[in-house]
Amino acid sequence: MSVTPALDLRGIGKSFGPVKVLDDVSFSAYPGEITALVGDNGAGKSTLVNCIGGVHPPDSGEYRFEGRRVRVHSPRDASLLGIEIVHQDLALCENLDIVQNLFLGREQRNGLTLDEDMMEEIARTTLSGLAVRTLGSARRPISTLSGGQRQIVAIARAVLLDNKVVILDEPTAALGIAQSQQILEVVRRLADKGLAVVLISHNINDVFAVSDRIAALYLGRMVAQVRTADVTHRQVVELITRGTGGEVGLRR
């Protein structure tokens, strides 16, 4: 049985001036699955994510969303389709509380005034949907939260509205072991709820712990898109470092 990918990019090319950063890249992400995007520094992961999110529209190639060809030329276009990116620098307002951050730029209003009660209720439902138990109060200012808690708020912001695709750029890079574990559980839960999740990570163990598929970029080319169950740690490390690993990888 073949499922329509939520996100399906084919033959994507992107250059910055003379530098070809992405070359004929194909990439898909499926609803209900976590697709890990791996690759060494400078491989083009963030550039690919920026193409998906409309930050830097691709030069060439085909962009399909739920089977339809679409044009994504700005972050707004992506947002309207239901694609949200959680950037590595979370960009939260420390002086505002959790609810206020979740609804920033899309406040619920009751005529002229803010509907604080409604926002607080939706915020709680979203956070408890992620089974987050450690926040204490939905009215805590961000300045009092730990790194992991802030990451959770940023993720909740991305899934607050009915989104279809959530892309997380290195969500655990700055966290300790316990907090990383919690974030990975939350990420898993997003996929279980039916979202297509793209997880960028440097940590091979994390990738194997939660992902369903692995996409490996090597010097701007997609060298493999495989099911996580079909490859070994060693093969993935080789894909990242040499662009080839066992039978999978770059065709020479």
């Binding site: 972050p75 206020q100 109060s137 009092t144």
Partner: protein
Amino acid sequence: MPTDIPRQKKDAVMKLADTDFATDRREHDVRSAALDYWNKLKAGELGALPAILGLAALVVLFTSLKPDTFLSKANVANLSTQALPITILAMGLVFVLLVGEIDLSAGVASGLSASVMAKLLVDGGQPWYVTIISAVATGIIIGTVIGWLVSVLRIPSFVVTLAFFLGLQGITLRLIGEGGTVPVRDDVIVAIATKNMPIWLGWALAVACSLGYTATLLLRWRRQHVRGLHSKPLEFVLAQSAVVAAALLISTYVLSLDRAPSPLITLGGIPWGVLLVGILLIVCTFVLGRTSYGRHIYAVGGNAEAARRAGINVARIRISVFMIGSGLAAVSGIVAASRLNSVATDAGGGNTLLYAVGAAVIGGTSLFGGRGKARDAVLGGLVIAIIENGLGLLGTKAYLSFLITGVVLLLAATMDALARRRRTAAGR
């Protein structure tokens, strides 16, 4: 009979068990609430506390030094109008400070706006409302230009407004002429800071405001309580309403006493300017606290990049706060002119601006952006006015007044910086 919970309810029960917003759902008693408050203070969330303590300390200090004059009816009334221009200027600055910018030209912008008004009255023979609208428009235009330079060209506001500080004084000087003053004799404009409202009206407004404030707080508390949302304990809500109502009613009482120097006439009532500040306070509090626009101002001050990514037009917010800042500066200039019955070339110059910035910061507005409320201007404006007034009664030499005011401003800024360090330390 089998327990037959309808599906929806079952879900709700599940959700309750699943969520753990313990702090929000916990039944507060006074003790736990006081503990929460103490923890907040320790974490650098000082709120209005320093300003209120400062006010109390200053009142005690000057009352003991000048027992006959400081709390005399006439001086209290004088104090209330003395605080008006600083408070209004500071309220405009709160908006600018909230986005993390500064407006050093607000004082002289108030002076220029007032001189536009005075010139139109005297030379143009215009009616009062035309001159007031022109003055406020002058302020808003100044703010628009400053805001454009700051948010579109990205010149630091410190530099732009320093240039305006000099330039606007030049324009005022050109308008009024070297060393001159323009008299302001229009009845309506003079009445703002020198005439009082009828006693009955003062009482009616004070009672209405007390009841309205209490009702607003109680209704919000009930709504939050019923829906199981985050709320302050009822005792705190009641105490807060009681304090505000007491402050309102006591000041109304004092200002309603006959303060005429001679028994032949009666003089009493709340100055009209106090009503003006009251209205501005309510409007600004509403805009900052209850509208998306206000929320976006805080967001830009807290993290401009986050605000931009959230789809907020950061440049537009920045321009608008300078417009509000200079617009309110113009209002402050009008009130100052009303109080002095004239506009001089140095109107709004000297230490006017520093007093207003000091008022905002003493009231609790942060110089680092993102924190502050409209009421800070009122509390801080009172502190500054009391210092100015008290030192005047003591006959303090000018050099000492400058020194003392400078020290007070520095103290407030130090407290702001220390509180900020506490807050950053609180997040792990």
